[in-house]
């Protein structure tokens, strides 16, 4: 009985030292990004890599960093077939310029398309450490507005398909772009 008390006391003393456990685990699903995959327009079931794609949010000066290991301009460029871009959590529209062949010395080869995503938001509680996350839902009638920049140029994206209208996690593809 007496030993139990001593054990309990020491246990409690040691427990009091580890109160601060409020670090949000990086693996916790929080605010998801928009997942876009690129497909070949001539063979729609086949993924197609983009060449030096740079994505800049409207009103921003710097693009989304796709290669965190690089330090120069190449950190903003991707040559893959899948990207993840963050949507605004304080507004219901987010616009991005998608610049293909970015940095090409011949400006005729550089194509820019502007895509505006329209959605509604819901703030959902995650945990004490992580706070809340924002989930998105594309508007039913005008989820996407797509223009070329400048408008006289042809759009390099030939077709944009909304695969998932609910953006709840990053495990699924929400948008497919055919070019």
């Amino acid at each position: 009985m007496k030993k139990i008390i001593v054990l309990l006391l020491t246990a409690i003393m040691s427990l009091s030292s580890c109160e601060k456990d409020d670090i949000c685990d990086a693996n916790t699903p929080t605010t998801p990004r928009l997942i876009i995959e690129f497909y070949d327009i001539s063979n729609p079931s086949v993924l197609k890599n983009v060449t030096n794609l740079k994505v800049i949010g409207e009103g921003m000066t710097e693009g989304i960093i796709f290669n965190p290991n690089s330090t120069d301009e190449s950190q903003y460029l991707t040559n893959g077939n899948k990207i993840a871009i963050p949507l605004k959590t304080d507004g219901d529209t987010t616009s991005y310029n998608f610049i293909l062949n970015s940095g090409n010395p011949n400006p005729i080869l550089t194509d820019t398309d502007k895509v505006t995503f329209n959605y509604s938001r819901a703030d959902v509680f995650v945990s004490r450490a992580c706070g809340f996350k924002t989930l998105f839902k594309f508007n039913g009638n005008n989820a996407i507005e797509h223009t070329a920049v400048p408008a006289t140029r042809p759009k390099w994206m030939q077709y944009i398909s909304v695969e998932k209208s609910n953006i709840d996690n990053e495990n699924e593809t929400h948008i497919k772009v055919f070019f």
Partner: protein
């Protein structure tokens, strides 16, 4: 037995030291001379006790002693004073116990709390009342007319409260569009309840006459709680304190109590126990 006794006295002395310090803050109305003498008292009898322990064993002379039975009521000083320095907290806890047998005490705590919790991404206010009912087992063998207690006990706790989400922040691991500011909510969740079990380890020392000071530490296990909504959870429960993952909690109190003696019982001599 000797070893455990030694262990016990050392803990008792350690605890009494903290009480001696604490006493200075309590009886400020007394003259400084009185304070000094009272401050030394709890240590002095213990030294004498260790001597009598050895003499009692060799001589096997058991003094006739009477145990006092009665009701002890008081207040948790920590909760009461915390509001003075913590603007996010208001609370009070009344404590009481009633001596049932030589070693068993029926014990209860009754309290009310109003606490605002500021986390990194959440700001919530919890208001409510709670009651804890259970027992304490006094594992301390008192000598002569000492009435100190080193106890281990159990409580069943129940709380009814409400929780208000004052403001929150969105967690965004990819802050391309910049860090988002706090969002004001003000959503209130009423009619929340929770129940839990507490293991209590405590000490009570008689400082003078019928006045005791006590300290207890508690480990809580949440048995059930009514969640604010499907997505939200109770971040603080009055009486239970902050919730942790795995329904675990911890707490303590620091009490001053007054003992109301009701009747006396003669302590049976120890020899009877030995025969059994």
């Amino acid at each position: 037995m000797k070893h455990t006794l030694k262990y016990f006295f050392s803990i008792g002395l350690l605890m009494s030291l903290s009480f001696v310090q604490a006493q200075d803050t309590i009886p400020k109305t007394n003259t400084p001379e009185k304070n000094k003498t009272e401050g030394v008292i709890p240590e002095a009898p213990k030294k004498a006790v260790t001597k009598t322990a050895t003499t009692a064993k060799t001589d096997t002379v058991v003094p006739v002693k009477k145990d006092r039975y009665g009701l002890r009521v008081g207040v948790d000083l920590y909760k009461l004073t915390r509001g003075l320095w913590d603007s996010n907290y208001k609370g009070i806890e009344l404590v009481g116990d009633y001596r049932l047998t030589k070693n068993y005490y029926a014990a209860a705590e009754l309290g009310s709390e109003d606490k605002t919790t500021e986390d990194d991404r959440l700001n919530t206010t919890t208001k409510g009342t709670y009651i804890k009912v259970g027992f304490d087992y006094n594992a301390y063998e008192n000598w002569l007319d000492m009435e100190n207690i080193i106890s281990l006990g159990l409580r069943a706790g129940f709380s009814t409260f409400n929780q208000e989400l004052n403001s929150y922040r969105i967690y965004n691991p990819h802050p391309y569009w910049g860090e988002m500011p706090w969002i004001t909510s003000g959503e209130t969740f009423n009619g929340l309840t929770a129940g839990w079990i507490e293991v209590v380890a405590g000490v009570k020392v008689k400082v003078f006459n019928n006045v005791f000071v006590g300290f207890s530490v508690r480990l809580n296990t949440l048995v059930y709680d009514k969640k604010p909504s499907e997505d939200f959870e109770n971040l603080y429960i009055p009486g239970f304190n902050r919730t942790y993952a795995g329904n675990f909690g911890a707490g303590f109190n620091y009490t001053v109590t007054y003992f109301v003696p009701l009747y006396k019982k003669t302590v049976k001599p120890k020899e009877e126990k030995k025969k059994k």
